[in-house]
């Protein structure tokens, strides 16, 4: 687990309603080359509640890098980039 890429999917209310629910199953949608390299967990809130920020849910964090308005394509392309 230590060497795996950590994907954190926000499941706070706003993100969850805006697609975090589906993103929970992200692992099943990844190409097989990436599947074994990642570890997926939930997060109670990744920060959309900060003051003065216009929230762009759903948020996903991959090894510390925050992706707003995340979707499967965005996640895959970022994963491809960092595993190159």
């Amino acid at each position: 687990m230590e060497n795996k890429i950590k994907i954190r999917v926000c499941v706070g209310t706003y993100c969850y309603v805006y697609g975090g629910n589906e993103l929970k199953e992200i692992k099943d949608k990844l190409p097989s080359a990436l599947k074994d390299k990642v570890y997926v967990e939930a997060s109670v809130c990744l920060g959309c509640d900060a003051k003065g920020v216009v929230p762009k849910p759903p948020y996903v964090e991959i090894d510390g890098h925050l992706i707003p308005e995340a979707n499967t394509e965005k996640i895959i392309s970022y994963l491809m980039e960092i595993t190159k």
Binding site: V11, T13, Y14, V40, E41, A42, P57
Partner: protein
């Protein structure tokens, strides 16, 4: 020394005679808040079926009514006996009753007529009680009611049953004369030995289930059991929502860290505030372990459950409002919260009232109601339907 604050937990369970659809026993209880006392009545109507049900319902509701007005015992017993309709086959009117009056300090008086004797259970053993025999004249016939007074101390249980329990198993090879008070006593002793904190509802259910087993799962009579348990209350703290002013974040953290009882946090932001204030990490589940439609739960040192906020609370409210028997089998986050709520006696609620800007998005589902109103409905349901004591704070 200040006396400990105790609560009275009342639990009951009953089963009908085999092939009957209504029970001939009735158990009623009520809490009189401004007089600080409880009244409970267990009555067994003559025979079984509808006729018995009518007799026992009448008896128990009359008894509750009379006790509410503090009618003297003799008058009460006489009125009940005189009022009950006379059975056309047996030419008698008859319905047993045990009336229990407990105040919050444990002072208890019990009036019995015809039911098996009650038990007082203290330190794992049954304690004998002195009873005063009071004569009551009914249709020129003498009958007696038994009057006892006692004080329920911490962790005492008062157990009443109908004869369907003590006479269960009659005619069996092992218990030719029925389970009897001795069999029942041994059973209760074993139950309490196994778990000294068994709740009133679990114990009463266990006793009735055992009676059913004695009768080889075809009950020969209606059987009921009620348990009155005086104990230290179980506390629960439910926090949801960020405080209106950030200066109150510290207070939220301190309340959580200093609380003696179970703690539930509902809401990602709430959990983050507590995590920041107490320097305790929120531990999330790996995605594979999630179940149900609701956002998953997380955990934190010293906190029993962390869930998402308003979606989960909405579901909690739905479960509470639609619940018929306090029995819950689901395992999603909302069901877990309900289980915690129902197991607690005193529920402290802290509602943070800062409006979450993100939730005002008109594209969000309408079910995302304002936290304050959802919490208010949950609290009112816990108070009125489940008789919990609640203390609410808006911060």
């Amino acid at each position: 020394m200040k006396p400990k604050n105790m609560i009275i937990e009342i639990g009951s369970y009953q089963l009908c005679k085999h092939d009957n659809s209504v029970c001939g026993d009735t158990f009623l209880s009520c809490k009189i808040k401004n007089e600080n006392r409880f009244i409970a009545v267990l009555s067994d109507g003559l025979g079984s079926g509808i006729k018995a049900n009518v007799l026992s319902s009448m008896t128990s509701s009359m008894a509750i009514g009379f006790r509410l007005h503090n009618t003297p015992v003799i008058e009460l017993a006489k009125s009940i006996m005189d009022t009950l309709p006379i059975d056309s086959e047996r030419n008698i009117s008859y319905s047993t009753f045990s009336i229990i009056d407990v105040d919050f300090d444990g002072e208890t008086s019990i009036v019995e007529y015809g039911n098996p004797s009650f038990f007082i259970w203290r330190n794992g053993k049954s304690v004998q009680q002195e009873k005063e025999k009071i004569e009551v004249m009914q249709n020129n016939k003498k009958s007696y009611v038994l009057l006892s007074k006692c004080n329920l101390q911490e962790n005492d249980r008062l157990i009443v049953v109908t004869d369907g329990i003590t006479q269960s198993g009659i005619g069996n090879a092992i218990t030719p004369f029925g389970w009897g008070s001795e069999g029942l006593t041994e059973f209760i002793e074993r139950q309490i030995d196994q778990s000294s904190t068994v709740s009133a509802s679990d114990l009463s259910r266990a006793i009735v289930m055992k009676a059913q087993q004695n009768d080889a799962f075809r009950m020969k009579d209606d059987a009921s059991c009620a348990v009155i348990y005086r104990r230290v209350p179980r506390h629960l703290l439910l926090c949801s929502g960020p405080p209106y002013s950030e200066s109150r974040d510290k207070y939220l953290g301190e309340t959580v860290s200093g609380y003696k009882g179970k703690i539930i946090l509902c809401g990602g932001t709430t959990a983050k505030i507590v995590s920041r204030e107490l320097h305790r990490e929120v531990i999330c589940l790996p995605i594979e372990k999630m179940r149900g439609d609701l956002p998953p739960v997380a955990s934190m040192e010293g906190v029993d459950l962390i869930s998402e906020g308003i979606l989960t609370l909405g579901k909690v409210l739905e479960i509470l409002e639609n619940m018929k028997v306090p029995d819950i089998t689901e395992h999603d986050p909302a069901a877990s919260i309900v289980r915690y709520l129902l197991n607690a006696d005193i529920i402290d609620v802290i509602v943070g009232t800062r409006i979450n800007e993100a939730h005002q998005d008109p594209n969000l589902p309408v079910e995302l109601e304002i936290r304050r109103s959802v919490m208010k409905r949950i609290i009112s349901c816990l108070e009125t339907k489940f008789l919990k004591e609640t203390n609410v704070q808006f911060i």
